[in-house]
Symmetry: C2
Subunit: 127 residues, 2 copies
């Protein structure tokens, strides 16, 4: 499998697959005589795995750890759970931050008449 086929099958842009190869996250199985990256089913599974992990917002380093655990059949699920819990905490924190922003901003937006006059509670709040 050349890179574009692998990328399509993994649901990733070619550029991203090349990037993952560059940073040693998912290496191609081998290189052709012409230097083309080639991917087999195992490498493809890793690409899919990374795409899903990234969708959860796991950083590249976390993906590396998860990928290691994915391939380590003697892993302890506790290690995986710890990484996932950390990410869950981050998400929860971000949600709280966004909730606070949303509350304040939606209140301001609602109280702004939004007409052609200059007085505006949003600007007042910021200034």
């Amino acid at each position: 499998m050349n890179i574009s086929e692998a990328a399509k099958a993994a649901g990733l842009p070619v550029k991203t697959v090349r990037y993952y190869a560059d940073i040693g996250l998912v290496s191609p199985t081998s290189r052709s005589d012409a230097g083309y990256r080639t991917y087999d089913a195992t490498a493809l599974r890793k690409l899919v795995f990374v795409r899903r992990a990234r969708a959860f917002g796991f950083g590249i380093d976390a993906c590396r750890e998860l990928l290691d655990l994915y391939q380590d059949h003697g892993r302890s699920s506790a290690e995986v759970k710890q990484i996932a819990s950390r990410r869950l905490d981050e998400i929860t924190l971000k949600q709280r931050e966004l909730q606070a922003l949303h509350d304040t901003l939606s209140h301001l937006v609602q109280s702004c008449r939004g007409d052609d006059r200059p007085d505006c509670p949003i600007i007042d709040y910021l200034g």
Copy 2:
């Protein structure tokens, strides 16, 4: 006021104030003979304004627009409201995304025993 005093008064790092000057977001009032940036009360108010706007997650370009409106006493509040509404929509969208992530991930984390055995619904989900 030199930059460090202005930065402290605005609640921003010196580096950030210098950065805002570099990109023309908040220019210093003037320069001293030695080339030091100096800030007066008006420039300071702009710095504070930008800090608050950034805290809402407005991008630099949005800050530029808001700052223009802030200084335009003949503005229409509709313009401000539109910018704020866009940001509110972004926040709402992000919240929905995070909610979906949270739901799925918390479910996975809960269903993972987290012991020393390898089977793990989190890894299964990703793989």
